[in-house]
Symmetry: C2
Subunit: 348 residues, 2 copies
Amino acid sequence: MTTAPPPTIDPETSVTYADVEAAALRLAGNAHPTPVLTSNTVNQRTGSQVFFKCENFQRAGAFKFRGAYNALAQLSDAQKRQGVIAFSSGNHAQAIALAGQILHIPTTIVMPSDAPSVKQTATRDYGAEVILYDRLTTQREALAQQIAHDRHLTLIPPYDHPYIIAGQGTATKELIEAVGALDFLLVCCGGGGLLSGSAIAAHALAPNCQVIGVEPKRADDATRSFYSRALQTVHNPDTIADGARTPSLGKYTFPLILHYVSDMVTVSESAILRSMFFLWERLKIVVEPTGALAAAALLEGVVHYPNARIGVILSGGNIDLKQAGKLLNKAQERRKKADSAPLARELS
Amino acid sequence: MTTAPPPTIDPETSVTYADVEAAALRLAGNAHPTPVLTSNTVNQRTGSQVFFKCENFQRAGAFKFRGAYNALAQLSDAQKRQGVIAFSSGNHAQAIALAGQILHIPTTIVMPSDAPSVKQTATRDYGAEVILYDRLTTQREALAQQIAHDRHLTLIPPYDHPYIIAGQGTATKELIEAVGALDFLLVCCGGGGLLSGSAIAAHALAPNCQVIGVEPKRADDATRSFYSRALQTVHNPDTIADGARTPSLGKYTFPLILHYVSDMVTVSESAILRSMFFLWERLKIVVEPTGALAAAALLEGVVHYPNARIGVILSGGNIDLKQAGKLLNKAQERRKKADSAPLARELS
C-alpha cells in the first residue's frame, strides 16, 4: 500500500487579496457593512484601543453570509439552476439558505435531526429544503455527497474553499478601512476560513499587523497544527463554542494560516462564558459563545498588548433563548463560586 | 385651608428646539452618537421602514446620560464645586454619576438598600457616593432634599426639568438627521422626559411626524392623563418596565406632552417581554424591558402604520444577568403555553 502525500497548496497563490477585493464588490449591497464598536471600559482595562468588528449584526447573524454569498454568486448558470447543498447545523446552513434565497438558487441543507428546532425553522424560513439525518447512524458528509450526486447539486463546503475564504476576508477589509491600521487582530478559529481570510486582508492593508487565531482549549487542533506544522485533529470536542467544533483545518486554510498568521492561543470554557456575558452586559450586544472567543483572549489576559491598536472580530450572535438561559445559569453558578479569573472578580 | 392651582407652564416657551440644539452642542464629544439599526424581518412584518435608535449603546447604557450631562454642564461654578444629588435606583443614578465624573462634579446618589448590588457597584465605579435607605421606613425625596439642604448640594430631578428634557431630545435630533424625516416616532414614557424632548425635536425637524408615547398597561398614568387632560398617578405599579414605574408626569412634561404628542398607547407585560427577546434574538442587541416598550407597540400590532417611515427609540440596555435569567425563564414558560399573540406564534 502506498500513501500519497497531502496536496500541497501554495498559500501565496491559492487565495489572494485580489480575491478578497473581488468578493467585496460582489457583497456590496448584499452583505451588511457591520458596525465597529468601542468600549471605554475595555480600553481602560487593556491600556489599548480596541475595535470590535460586530459580525453578529451580519445578515443571518454571522460572518458566514460573506463566504456563502461569494461562493454562490460565482456558480455557473447551470449550477445555479440545479441548486446547491450544504451540511451544517449552524451558521453556515442559514448563510447558504439566505444567499440562495437572494440569488434565486435552490438550497438543500443536511442537518442532524436533533438540531435546535429554532435553527431548522430559521433555515426553512430562508427557503431551504432541510434534510434531517440521525447523528448516531449516518455520516453526514457521505449523505450530502450522495444527495449532491443524485440530484446534481453543487456541494458548498463550510470553510475550505477559496471563494469562502475570500468572502470571509471582507470583514477585516471593512474593519481596517473603517478604523485604520491595526497592530493586532484577534480572530476565532474553527476550520480556519475566517482566520485565513482575515489574515490575507490584514497582510495587504496593514502589513505590520499581527493576526492571532483563538481557539477553545478543548478544541485546540489548529493551535497544535500551527505549532507542529502538521495537521492535527479533534473529535467531537465538548466546547460551548459550537462553531469551533470542526475536526481540523483544511487543505487551503492550513497553509494559509501557517503563512499569514503570527500566533495561535487557546481560551478556557469559563473564559468564553464570562467574555460572552461581559459583551452582553457592557457592550449591550448579543454574541454567541464562538463569537466571544477572540474577545476572551484579550479580556482574560491570555494575550497582553498594551498601548496598541487591536481589532477583535465578534463572529456571530446566533444563540437562542433556551441555550442562553442554560448558559446564564452556568455563568451565575460560576460567579457564586468566586472564580479567581480577572473578569469574574470584576463582575461579581 | 386653600389649595393653589398647579403651576401652569407654557409648553411653547418652557423648552424649545433651540434648547435641544444647545444641548446637542454640549453633548458633542461627550455622549455617543448612537447607531440606528434596521431589520429586514421587521420591515417585512410591518410593511414599513423602521429605524431603531439604539440608546442602549449610549454611555452608561441609556438615554439618561444626555439629560444628566446637559443639566450638570449648566451648573454655576459654585454649584459644581459643592456637588449634586439625585435619587434613583436605575439609569438616572448611573447617568448622573458618570456625567459628574466627566465634569469633575462630586455626586451623591440616594438608593434603596435593596437595589441590585450590580447597580450600586456601577454607580460607585463612576465615583458617586451612594447613600442607602430603607424603602419601608424612609421617603426618598424627603431624604434627598434633607441631604441636599444640609450639604448644599443641587438636586437633579430625573425628568421634570428643562435641561433634562432638552438633553433627552437630542436622541431624536440625531435620528432624524441620520435617516431623514419620519411619519411616526414611537417613544417609551415614564415621567415623560424622553417623550417630551423627543416630541419637541420631531416637531422642529419633521413637522408632519406623529409622536406616539408608549406605556406599560400596568403603569398607564400618562395615557390616562393624556386622554383626561388632568394629571393622573399610579402607585408602585407592578411592571417589568422599571423605568416606567414613575408615579406621574411632571409639571413640565405634562403640558409638553399634551402640546406635542399625537397619541399614547399601552402594551402588556407579555408584549414587552416578547419584544425584548425578539430584539435580543433577531437584532442581536441587549435592551432592558423599558427599552423594548416602544418596539412592543409596533411589533405586537398595538399600532399599525403600513407604508410609513417609523422611528423607534430603544431607550436603554441595563439589565443584569440575574434579572435576564429570570425573564428568560418567564418568556420560555409563556412560549410553552402557546400564547396566541403574533410574535409568540412566529417565534415558537
